[in-house]
Amino acid sequence: MAEYTLKLRRYLPESGQAPYWEEFKIDLDGTRSVLDGILQARDRDDGSIGIRCSCRAAICGSCGVRINGRPMLACHTHLEKAAETAPNGAIEVEPMGNMPVLKDLIVDMDAVHWKKMRRVTPWLIPDGEPPEREYIVPAESMIDITQTMACIQCGACVSDCLSMEVDPLFVGPAALAKAYRFVGDPRDGQHRQRLLDLSEDPHGIYDCTHCFNCIEACPKGVAPMSQIMRLRRIATADHGINDRNNGYRHEHAFVDNIEKNGILHEADLLPDSYGGKFHPRAVPELARSLPSILKALRTGKVTPQKALLHAHKAPKEVRRIFDHVHDKDERYELNLYVVGEEDEPEPDDSTTAGHTPEERSPNT
């Protein structure tokens, strides 16, 4: 039996008092969970500690909290593991972010998470009459969506979404991962409509800023950001959806830029992302960027020559790769979550970054 200190963030909105930290001493084996620790404190010291929990086995998704600043399931985090990253020896537990606090560690999932979930029409909408018997679908397409189906709605990804932090209207990682669950499902008949809706929404798929926080947060390996990138890929490549948020144009401007120059030529990227220098959309946007461009010219950061001329041309081998891959009828997408890892013949050397991940668990 070991002794740990839990530092809990306490808050009761109705009290009119500001949130505060309170420490509790617990004694439990290090392989017991942070949730067990909180429950012991509630049992022994203060029955009013607010925490939402149910299964204690990382499947109901109720006990999402921030532990030492990172979103996790309290029941899926060992005390000894949490103690390793505890600042000043006390394991800090606070409510998840991006959602209003109802009491202590309990956040209002209805106000944010569930509202966003409903936003993406999270049910199957088949085309036409249902078949007489069951739907027959290829096994691989169902395997493909198992990753998003692993979601337990704990809200950990929503808690730390950095786009949502500045744009609360962003549909967000959990709901967009759920959107892919239906866009990837061959039985659904509304793929295009779903994608059109989420591409045109200024707070939809193009509002994701690639920060990887949701991938890091998810206790189930759903990788919401990767699903958002797949939604974008299908929207632009398969449905040719040219959205009003510049998502399509930015992607194509970037890819064409590299095909032409080999390395990025930023001076072209900005106007091309708005549809080209003379596109009606580009004019106000470029005018808005003008002060910073002029400043960059003045400081010598950007020279007129560099802005206008293309000093770097893509080697022909780079162009050949673009042609070769673009000429294919089907995209080849490897998903390590689906295919799994290979057996490592050699001992794993973590100093060479880049190794096959296991299903994410905070305790490994």
């Binding site: 890091e216 510049n246 992607e251 990025l264 002060p291 960059a296 080849y332 490897l334």
Partner: protein
């Protein structure tokens, strides 16, 4: 040590002072840079979003070119961009994780006579400083310790997440390296809310307000924590934090004026190079606090007087 050097695109485009300062700092640390001139953009996540196989093939080609240099005496591949590090690691994870897939990608590279062999070591300059050169060795070379300079780290998403893909753990606390380095160089680490957050750059053309709100918020947090400057290993972050800072200040409605240094600039400063030769004059937000600090250090030793301009 000799390294196969991938400078990235932005360091040769809109942040030429990054590539320039790296070239100045390398000899002082006995690093020989063999530039991978024929390599292409890592895709910065956008090419992978467009077509994963395309991004994987382009980066496999870069790795194969680096491995040619490594057969010729380079010890590893080095980059100076968090975004390159993360994008390339993502591709490497797929390439290394599945033999069939790697063979498939290598078939595309074959006409050029290139093959990617699993397991390349590709490290950002930050990782190289800590893991290859060693902070003790860096410390021994410090000529002008950053005494009293308050520096806030700004990592950039791609170099800190996901932790398992980037090999961050107990043995390699790569998410603490900037703090460790700032201390090694004699500076004071500023702890502030935004250090591991997103600069907002990837959505600058899609949602400018949300993008600049992110940059502005983190710069403001650093300001509130009394930072003299920020340091970043990511030139894309530098674009949003420095080049776009006037716009970000407008969006968040407060004055910012927070200088943002590239990693090699901060190292170069401590190794005795002058702000000007490190290209600090090219920044949009003039690093006045840093320059005043550096001249006052010199003045304190030599002339015992006030700090001048430059």
């Amino acid at each position: 040590m000799k390294v196969a050097y991938w400078p990235g695109c932005v360091s040769r485009g809109f942040t030429p002072e990054l590539h320039g300062s790296m070239a100045k700092v390398a000899p002082l640390l006995d690093i020989e840079l063999v530039a991978l001139d024929r390599a292409s953009c890592c895709g910065a996540g956008v090419i992978a979003e467009h077509n994963q196989e395309l991004a994987d093939t382009l980066n496999a080609r870069t790795f194969a070119l680096a491995q040619q240099e490594m057969a010729d005496g380079a010890e590893l591949m080095m980059n100076i961009c968090s975004t390159c590090q993360g994008s390339q690691n993502e591709c490497q994870e797929r390439l290394d994780g599945n033999t069939e897939y790697r063979d498939h990608i290598n078939e595309t590279l074959a006409p050029e006579g290139l093959t990617y062999e699993k397991g390349i070591s590709n490290k950002n300059f930050l990782w190289l400083l800590v893991e290859e050169i060693g902070l003790d060795a860096v410390k021994a070379k410090v000529k002008r310790p950053l005494t009293d300079l308050r520096v806030g780290p700004f990592y950039g998403c791609y170099i800190v997440r996901p932790t398992d893909r980037l090999g961050i753990g107990r043995d390699h606390p790569r998410d603490r390296y900037l703090q460790m380095l700032i201390e090694t160089l004699g500076g004071t680490v500023v702890d502030y809310a935004g250090q591991y957050k997103c600069c907002g750059f990837p959505i600058i053309t899609m949602n400018r307000d949300a993008s600049l709100k992110q940059a502005g918020r983190h710069l403001g947090d650093a300001l509130d924590a009394d930072a003299d400057c920020l340091v970043t290993p990511c030139p894309l972050c530098h674009l949003n934090l420095d080049l776009q800072q006037p716009g970000a200040a407008k969006v968040v409605g407060r004055e910012l004026g927070m200088p943002v240094l590239h990693l090699p600039q901060l190292v170069g400063l401590a190794l005795g190079l002058e702000p000007k030769e490190l290209g600090m004059g090219k920044h949009v937000v003039k690093p006045t606090s840093v320059i005043d600090w550096s001249t006052s250090v010199v003045a304190g030793v030599g002339e015992g007087g006030s700090s001048g301009g430059w």
